[in-house]
Amino acid sequence: MRQLKDILVIDDEPMVTRVVVKVCSSEGMTIMPAHHAQEALQFLDRNEFRLILCDIMMPELSGFQFLEELSGRGIHTPVVMMTGYSTVENAVKSLTTTGCMDYIPKPFTADELVTVIQRCLRCSLLLNESESAGLPRSGALSHVPCPTNYYRLGYVSWALMESNGTAKIGVSDLFLKASEGAREFELSMPGEDLLQGIPCADMTSPDGSVHSIMCPLSGRILEVNEQAQTSPSLVEKDPYFRGWLYRILPSNPASDLQWLSL
């Protein structure tokens, strides 16, 4: 009988796995540590997990090679990448590769780790629910329809290319849902530069956890939606229209868009 556990954590640094185990256990989650991808695959043969935390840079199999291995074996457990080398490429790849849900840059606090894990677990649940309701297991949710011409960065954020060359960006309904709503947004200033895959805003949930919203497009902020800042509930209610966050001037739309899904 395969045992169902909450988390599988894979990292070649025992110090990291130890502290992750400690934090997750104290939150009441069941967790198993693995120190390389092969060991993790052995665990996966015997157990079932709700979420996998995986380091990107590991000897032998890297995090992304491990992902391929998973999909080859037909395992659909969502994966959260961890990395001490948080380049834009790693971030974007983590958010857009099939089977991979999110990423968390090292080093992180216990709260940050728990926030990401819980958000991803909820997200996974929501996706399972919508799947069982007969909807495709991808991207957005059913209750707030995401318009078809919106580009999405994983389950996190969206970008809408406007006819005048600017783009609006915002947070997706699934991310809002998985974070259990927004109490407050901390946004950047007009004139600042944003990078795809790097946090562009911090969202505080009603429970006080802080979620970083990864930016879908690189560019310079032209306008900030004041309404999103003054009434965060607006973003929750209407994330795709009145709840946009920034209007930006994309700096490299052609190469950025190929990572995004419509």
Binding site: V19, V23, S26, G84, Y85, S86, P107, A110, M189
Partner: protein, 621 residues
């Protein structure tokens, strides 16, 4: 060798031209002189011949042979005459100054007969030219000029008492006078010699002058330029070409100097950014290694912080661990950002708060070393848009440096903050100022407040002199040296080339006086009014880009100070003044952070007295 030297080529070309011109001139001159001397001798011989003829005519009519003999002999024996003879139509010599040949026959092919008889048929009449001949009887003898004078038959001859000639004869005989050309030839040789000497000396003198001018005006400046180019190619960008002339080569040298100055400036910046880039790559490599241990520290400490509800002391300590580890994370992140050239994560923040936070971090370290920290913060400071973590890092850096400078002795660090209004006036130093012909007006020999001044020459009516402007933009502390009033007759010009420095078609908007104008390379025109008490000035590119509200923070210590020679290199990576103690990265990172915030960082220091770092960050962003 001539192929390698443009001066030699030019000199050679000009000398060749002079040689050909003078050669042609000398040749024709000698020819014409020769001709005129010969013509003169010919005329003289002809006159002589006519004189002999008329002298003997009477005696011939009277057939007085003795007198004729005597006359011919007398005349023919004169020094300037070679010989005089008369021969009859059949060629028999009747009279001659050389008595030995009387009665002999003249060969029809002889010089004297040749003229008339060369055509086979004897000629009746000959003009003077045809009667003259120049010949040399043998190789050793001098040249001779002979003139034949035919004695024509006339009524007096055939009616004369002797009846020697019938009236059917046309020519009775020929008077042949021969004179030596010794003197003439000597004169010709002398004048030929003089002409050759003249031509040679003219060629030599002209060549010397041309050679000297080419050397002075072309060869020397080109050599100097070449030396400059070699120096610059070898990497010595401080070399300046010393060509003072106003011509194209002078302008070329000036442009060359300007180019190397710009190049030196660009290289310095490139050097700095290159070093910072390699620093970034290094940081990126190190970041990954540091982040794993940091994860253990941060996650553990934050986990402990969450759990240790009961003990406030422990909580406080843990809080410091967590927040400092987060700061480490931000530093590593910012180094990674630096490696990929991104901008800091800026938010509105209170600089005083950041200073207090920074002070808290190193409080313990300072009190352990008996260093007092004094803060004089302006509470009305406007908020600035900065990356708080980066700016905090800057202050911590500066305070650690200050405490290192104080060393083992007791000392104090003072931090002051205040809002200031900065205009570019008195802050920006004009380091290069070009006239229309691109001469640099900045005169390193004249200094105002220790900085090289901008020199200009004025002229009004007959009064002229030099003035020196303060190179700090906007300053009115000039050295005007009794300059006259500025009016329509007032002129201002470049001391090197006298090009006008008065702006065209524009006057001071404040007092309507003429204004000066010069160019700062790559940074546009600077205008200003020199009228007493006006002080109007404009530097469009700078004025428009300048933001005048700043927050200024000064970090002052009373430590050992920094030697003057180390100041220019202070912000370069790996330029530590702490020997083995420092990495040499702190101030480079600091510089990069402040630069990313469009701020400025400067340093004032005196060895033994202490150092002040001044940071200015623009408010309105």
């Amino acid at each position: 060798m001539i192929n390698n030297n443009i001066g030699l080529k030019l000199t050679f070309g000009v000398v060749l031209t002079i040689l050909v011109a003078i050669g042609i001139f000398a040749f024709f001159n000698i020819q014409s002189e020769k001709q005129s001397l010969l013509t003169e001798v010919e005329r003289h011989a002809n006159q002589l011949s006519e004189a002999v003829k008329s002298d003997t005519e009477y005696d011939m009519l009277h057939n007085d042979r003795e007198r004729i003999h005597e006359s011919i002999h007398r005349i023919g024996n004169q020094e300037s005459i070679d010989r005089v003879r008369v021969f009859n139509k059949s060629g028999e010599i009747i009279y001659s100054s050389d008595t030995a040949e009387i009665g002999t026959m003249v060969d029809q092919n002889a010089e004297s007969c040749h003229r008339c008889h060369s055509a086979g048929e004897p000629l009746g009449r000959l003009d003077q030219q045809e009667r003259t001949r120049i010949f040399r009887p043998n190789a050793e003898s001098p040249r001779l000029l002979g003139i034949i004078n035919p004695i024509y038959n006339s009524p007096t001859c055939w009616t004369a008492a002797c009846h020697a000639h019938p009236d059917t004869q046309t020519v009775l005989g020929v008077l042949d006078v021969t004179i030596p050309l010794t003197d003439v030839d000597r004169n010709i040789r002398r004048s030929q010699f003089a002409m050759v000497i003249l031509a040679i000396s003219a060629i030599l003198i002209l060549s010397a002058i041309v050679g000297f001018m080419v050397r002075w005006w072309i060869d020397r400046p080109i050599r100097e330029l070449l030396t400059g180019i070699k120096h610059v190619a070898g990497g010595n960008l401080g070399y300046r070409v010393k060509v003072k002339s106003e011509d194209e080569l002078g302008m070329l040298a000036n442009s060359f100097n300007n180019m190397t100055d710009s190049l030196a400036e660009a290289r310095l910046q490139l050097f700095q950014s290159d070093k910072l880039a390699s620093l970034g790559r290094l940081a990126a490599g190190v970041a990954h290694e540091i982040n794993n241990p940091l994860t253990a520290v941060l996650t553990n400490s934050s986990y402990l912080l969450k759990r240790s509800q009961a003990q406030p002391e422990t909580r406080e300590d843990l809080q410091v661990i967590v927040s400092e580890t987060i700061r480490c994370r931000e530093i590593v992140k910012s180094l990674l950002d630096f490696a990929r050239q991104t901008v800091p994560k800026k938010r509105k923040a209170d600089i005083n708060e950041i200073i207090s936070r920074a002070a808290k971090v190193i409080e313990n370290q300072l009190s352990n070393r008996q260093v007092d920290l004094e803060m004089d913060l302006d509470t009305t400071l406007p908020k600035v848009t900065v990356d708080a973590n980066q700016i905090q890092q800057v202050f911590i850096n500066l305070m650690v440096n200050a405490s290192d400078a104080i060393g083992e002795n007791r000392g104090s660090i003072k931090i002051t903050s205040k809002a200031i209004n900065l205009s570019p006036d008195g802050v920006l130093q004009i380091k290069r100022a070009l006239c229309r012909k691109r001469h640099d007006l900045v005169d390193r020999k004249i200094q105002i407040d220790g900085k090289p001044a901008i020199s200009m020459r004025y002229r009004r009516k007959k009064k002229t002199g030099l003035i020196h402007l303060n190179p700090m933009y906007g300053s009115t502390e000039h050295k005007l040296n009794g300059m006259p009033d500025i009016d329509a007759e007032f002129e201002l010009m470049c001391p090197d080339c006298s090009a006008s420095l008065i702006a065209d078609e524009e006057v001071c908007p404040k007092c309507e006086s003429p204004i000066y104008a010069f160019e700062v390379p790559l940074k546009g025109l600077v205008n200003g009014c020199l009228k007493e008490g006006c002080g109007w000035h404009r530097w469009e590119q700078v004025d428009s880009a300048w933001n005048d509200e700043y927050v200024e923070v000064r970090v002052t210590d009373d430590g050992c100070g920094i030697p003057e020679e180390q100041l220019p290199k202070l912000f370069e990576p790996f330029a530590t003044t702490k020997g083995q103690k420092g990495t040499g990265l702190g101030l480079a990172v600091t510089w990069g952070i402040i630069d990313n915030h469009n701020g400025t960082i400067s340093v004032e220091s005196e060895v033994g007295a202490g150092t002040t770092f001044i940071i200015r960050i623009p408010v309105g962003q």
